[in-house]
Subunit: 223 residues, 2 copies
């Protein structure tokens, strides 16, 4: 497939390289055509990699990943152009973390709204699916970095798109079938983005970003 990746940071380059390993053609988008980090990534990723503006990457992709920092996501989406994303799936990996006030970061939006919902409102003709935002980028593309079973959460307003994205993540990055818990519509982005403060705290406590959550379930109550 042709896949667009918005963002040139650690998440964008790790996802981009993972997608190329999975056999796809990837265009990385940024604010400018000649971004130095994107050029460096293209140089390592070789034949199946290209770069361009956010709009170039969005127009190129049959599906598009949002790998920008949460603080920049809405501007990146706007620059990508809602028309370029019409009727496509946008896979949103971003978290609305605010590092401007020091550590630990707070969230720029939470509780009664979320970045996922803001992005869906900005792209009414796009199927926004949020996934992978609760793990480090190395874990995103290689779940075996954290041994044992562990889970992802997927949400978005289109059920078929959620199922499609969960299947792609398994196929492309090796997440075992059943890893992904379907939380329903995009309002669940509140819940998965609000997990980040705990993730950051656990990173500090455990001394590694190679961590993830596993949901353990007991018996259903007799109804």
């Amino acid at each position: 497939m042709r896949i667009g990746v918005l963002g040139t940071g650690a998440v964008g380059s790790t996802i981009g390289s993972g997608l190329i390993r999975a056999g796809h053609d990837v265009r990385m988008g940024s604010r400018t055509k000649d971004n130095a980090k994107a050029a460096a990534w293209v140089a390592t990723a070789a034949a199946h990699a290209s770069q361009g503006t956010f709009a170039d990457a969005a127009a190129f992709g049959e599906v598009v990943f949002n790998c920008t920092a949460g603080a920049n996501s809405l501007a990146a989406i706007e620059a990508a152009g809602p028309e370029n994303l019409r009727d496509r799936i946008l896979i949103d990996l971003a978290n609305p973390l605010d590092f401007s006030k020091g550590m630990p970061p707070s969230l720029t939006v939470c509780n009664t709204d979320s970045l996922g919902e803001q992005i869906q409102r900005a792209l009414p003709a796009t199927k926004v699916v949020k996934i992978l935002n609760t793990v480090n980028c190395k874990v995103m593309v290689d779940p075996s970095v954290v041994p044992g079973e562990h889970n992802l959460f997927v949400c978005g307003n289109d059920g078929a798109a959620r199922a499609q994205v969960a299947a792609w993540i398994s196929e492309w990055f090796g997440w075992p079938a059943g890893s992904c818990i379907d939380l329903g519509d995009i309002t669940a982005a509140r819940a998965v983005e609000m997990l980040l403060p705990l993730w950051v705290r656990l990173y500090g406590t455990l001394g590694t970003p190679n961590l993830n959550f596993r949901i353990m379930v007991g018996e259903r109550p007799v109804s």
Copy 2:
């Protein structure tokens, strides 16, 4: 030990009964001396149970559990009397959930503050330790309700008090040693309270409140 329990709901009565099974004397506190739910609990719990006002329960306890609904916690603490809680450990189980706007609930405080921190500020001479707020009350007193390993999170400003409470929870309710992850000072209450929206969503998705989080960890990076 003599233990005070603030709150007469499902959490208070479940914790109270669990503490009596563990061999303790428990006084349940509420707004009034003659609360009907507290009286019903005392009737089932028999010899080692008593009830009274919030202040009666706080004065009785060598250690005190806050099992009130988060929306009522600060008023309950105020009624309990900071002097009655001076130099004691208050074990805070509450979550600042707001059900007034329908489902799913939002939080009345989050992100840059938390209920745990509000309670600590209201009780500067008390060692507030937050724990158990991330599981259903049946799981609190019997972790085997959710099979397999799973975790609790503890936070509070006094390290010795955190360790003491984690040890008590193991001894009294059967949490295996090592279940409890120490997140440090009371600002971590933000992280564990912000886990509730995900907990509520998982309850809806999985169809049971008998669930918990297990933290899976990979290798530490070479530093």
